[in-house]
């Protein structure tokens, strides 16, 4: 009898200890963030080690400002832009290292692969690098957040703004695969809707290196704007060659998916006058400048929107964990969706039910070399595209989570 009594007491004590420990309610006493990104390939400039740095900055700032009662750990890995490596790594992190959230994930195929793993294992995914809209449409799920941008926001933003500002006739240079076709289709719809016209388009093989014949067609079309419905190396090669052919600045180019690192690599001489849409520009406000200077001191490069978004999203996630008092996926997700995002990156940013974070986007024009006063002084902000217009409206959503 006595022993049973002892056992009871012991049980009660154990329970008490458990509930005490459970105040933090964070599994393993720590929140573990995985940064899965391209550390060695094409996208390592726009995401890569800069995204890892942004993550660490967010964690350091969060600990300093909010004094959480849980530990925060980071693991990083290179997915080499391969879906199988990403899926393997995410699975390993979740199963063996108890990672709570997998983040960044530039390259859509890696993002989609990790979204499936995370859904199966009930963990969070926060995506900043990938561009494609299926992430928050056909493939959407309730454990994922698509934070920084998507092709709808950058392509439609540019197409609309350029058309309304007088660039009425368009010619598209399109990468010949699904992604390029979608980009062209979406943008030309916007051009037409805003009173512009599409005088023609040409498809180039993907990946391409010699764009001369396609560019000559674009030149002969006499269109005011040449829309580049492609990405990465295709875009940069096309821009370089357009400058060599003397197409720019007579006709202007519109990059439908570009980053400040592309401008930096190409130089202002060949990119001057170009229009593009981004979700962040370091030299926009005092707040963005202050943060970007800190980033620059460590990385020796100004942040891209992906890297700034990574900081903002990680900070938002950690605040949601603290507010929810748990790292439970659905509770944290509910908190993240409930709380608006207000920081240097976004004002009144909101995560919708399809996982899309909506915030203002900015239409930029690349400066002339003579107008650039200091390093990384690349853009003039031509327009702010309000959050409500920047992203695909929920009414058009193809995400099964959105009930209409």
């Amino acid at each position: 009898m006595l022993s049973r009594k002892y056992a009871k007491t012991a049980c009660a004590a154990a329970l008490a200890a458990l509930s005490l420990g459970a105040q933090a309610q964070v599994s393993g006493g720590s929140v573990k963030i995985g940064v899965l990104t391209d550390l060695s390939g094409t996208y390592s400039d726009l995401a890569g080690s800069g995204a890892v740095l942004a993550t660490r900055m967010a964690i350091d700032d969060f600990i300093a400002n909010e004094k959480p009662n849980f530990k925060i750990e980071v693991v990083t890995a290179d997915h080499q832009n391969k879906a199988d490596i990403a899926s393997n790594k995410a699975r390993e992190w979740i199963e063996r290292e108890n990672v709570d959230t997998v983040t960044e994930l530039v390259t859509t195929s890696t993002a989609l692969a990790v979204m499936k793993v995370a859904k199966e294992k009930d963990r969070l995914v926060i995506m900043n690098g990938p561009a494609s809209t299926p992430i928050t449409n056909e493939q959407c799920n309730d454990v994922s957040v698509h934070y920084t941008y998507d092709t709808y926001a950058v392509a439609n933003g540019t197409a609309k703004a350029v058309t309304t500002q007088g660039g009425k006739s368009w010619f598209f240079l399109t990468a010949d695969y699904a992604f390029g076709h979608a980009l062209e289709k979406d943008s030309s719809t916007v051009v037409l809707a805003n009173g512009g016209k599409v005088v023609g388009s040409v498809r180039h093989p993907f990946p391409g290196s010699d764009f001369s014949s396609f560019l000559l067609k674009a030149q002969a079309s006499g269109a005011q704007v040449i829309g580049l419905a492609n990405a990465g190396a295709d875009t940069t090669n096309a821009i370089k060659q357009a400058a060599e052919f003397g197409i720019t600045p007579k006709q202007s180019l519109a990059g439908l998916l570009m980053f400040i690192t592309d401008i930096h690599a190409l130089g202002l001489k060949s990119t001057q006058g170009m229009y593009l849409t981004e979700g962040f520009y370091w030299d926009r406000t005092d707040e963005t400048r202050a943060w970007s200077k800190r980033f620059f001191d460590k990385q020796k490069k100004m942040p891209t929107m992906v890297q700034a978004g990574q900081y903002s999203s990680i900070y938002h996630y950690l605040r949601a964990v603290k507010a929810a008092g748990t790292d439970d996926t659905s509770k944290v997700m509910a908190m993240m969706k409930k709380t608006p995002i207000n920081d240097f990156f976004a004002k009144n940013g909101q995560i919708r039910d399809d996982g899309r974070m909506v915030h203002d986007m900015y239409l930029m024009q690349v400066k002339k070399p003579a107008d650039s006063k200091y390093p990384w002084d690349y853009y003039t902000i031509k327009a702010t595209i309000p959050a409500a217009e920047a992203f695909q409206p929920l009414a058009l959503s193809r995400c099964p989570l959105i009930k209409k």
């Binding site: 199988d84 195929s109 010949d176």
Partner: protein
């Protein structure tokens, strides 16, 4: 290039038995998904080695078989809703048929022309994979369920999945082992060593080459289909020519024309690719290149080939 006999060969069954046991207990020590990846690539490399190491045919388009089977298996399991074993079978058959077509065209030429024809055909497959809607383009074919083996055994459990992959690997390995050690395999080696002599002895060389090509393609396909189930996706990287190049590297590094070489080569490369980038970043491609150069300059027989030679030498003394 003579097949090593004597000591190394006579102890082979013992070695294979030991490796089999290691394979059985490995998932309890090492992360199973990682092991499954190694096994898939090992089978892929073994299939490639059957063609290059034993028939002397350098195919530079083997990714086409790996990738096609992956896509076929993924579509069958995800969209048609068949059980995983049927999916793998479908992938294997599809790769075999594609191999028949490729082989039939490619073996009309030899040497560099053969390699270039296979590369060109594989690039066509890559083009199709990126263009048609069903493969998901550059997003890949995502969300393939692992399903239940024979409708019974739940494969979402990593250990269960591992043993299925291990069984498939052993089956594929056994097929290759039997092929090499059969009269058919002897004739393949004869063709590799001296094709005109094989012809003058009355063998229909083209037919033997074609059969070897089909077996190799089908087994590469089996590896690809299995890989799709393991990762629950099929992506463009499997049909990209990089994958065709990687398998050459794996085979050469491990030991061309040795039965275990491709396995060792695949394990080495996959481990390097998975573990290194986290510490060395973009240097990983440079390091791989250096390893390859060192391999072909100083130990051309590959890891297993050199070990065999070492054992052979010490066995004689």
């Amino acid at each position: 290039m003579n097949a090593p006999v004597s000591f190394a060969e006579s102890k082979l069954p013992l070695l294979l038995g030991a490796l089999f046991v290691i394979g059985l207990i490995a998932p309890f020590a090492v992360y199973p998904t990682f092991l499954m990846k190694i096994l898939c690539y090992a089978l892929f490399a073994c299939a490639f080695n059957l063609l290059l190491g034993f028939a002397g045919l350098l195919s530079f388009g083997h990714a086409a078989f790996l990738g096609t089977a992956g896509y076929v298996c993924g579509m069958m399991v995800r969209d048609v809703g068949v059980t995983p074993e049927v999916g793998i079978l479908a992938g294997t058959v599809a790769a075999g048929l594609l191999g028949w077509l490729f082989g039939w065209l490619a073996i009309k030429r030899t040497g560099i022309y053969f390699a270039m024809i296979t590369l060109a055909l594989a690039q066509m497959v890559f083009f199709l994979a990126i263009q048609i809607k069903e493969t998901g383009g550059e997003d890949g074919l995502q969300g393939v369920p692992r399903g239940h083996l024979f409708g019974l055994l739940d494969l979402s459990d990593n250990i269960a999945m591992y043993y299925l992959v291990f069984a498939i690997f052993c089956f594929g390995f056994f097929v290759i082992y039997r092929t090499i050690h059969s009269p058919f395999g002897q004739i393949l080696k004869a063709i590799r060593e001296n094709e005109p002599r094989a012809i003058s002895l009355g063998y229909d060389v083209a037919k033997f080459k074609l059969i070897a090509f089909i077996i190799s393609a089908a087994l590469a396909g089996m590896a690809g289909a299995t890989k799709t189930l393991v990762f629950q996706l099929a992506s463009l990287s499997d049909v990209h020519w990089h994958a065709s190049g990687e398998v050459v590297l794996m085979t050469l590094l491990g030991g061309l024309g040795t039965i275990l070489g491709p396995v060792v080569g695949a394990a080495t490369i996959v481990t390097l690719q998975t573990q290194m980038p986290d510490s060395v970043g973009s240097w990983v491609t440079v390091i791989m290149g250096v390893i390859f150069v060192i391999c072909v300059l100083s130990f051309r027989r590959g890891i297993v080939g050199e070990l065999q030679a070492l054992i052979k030498r010490s066995g004689v003394n």
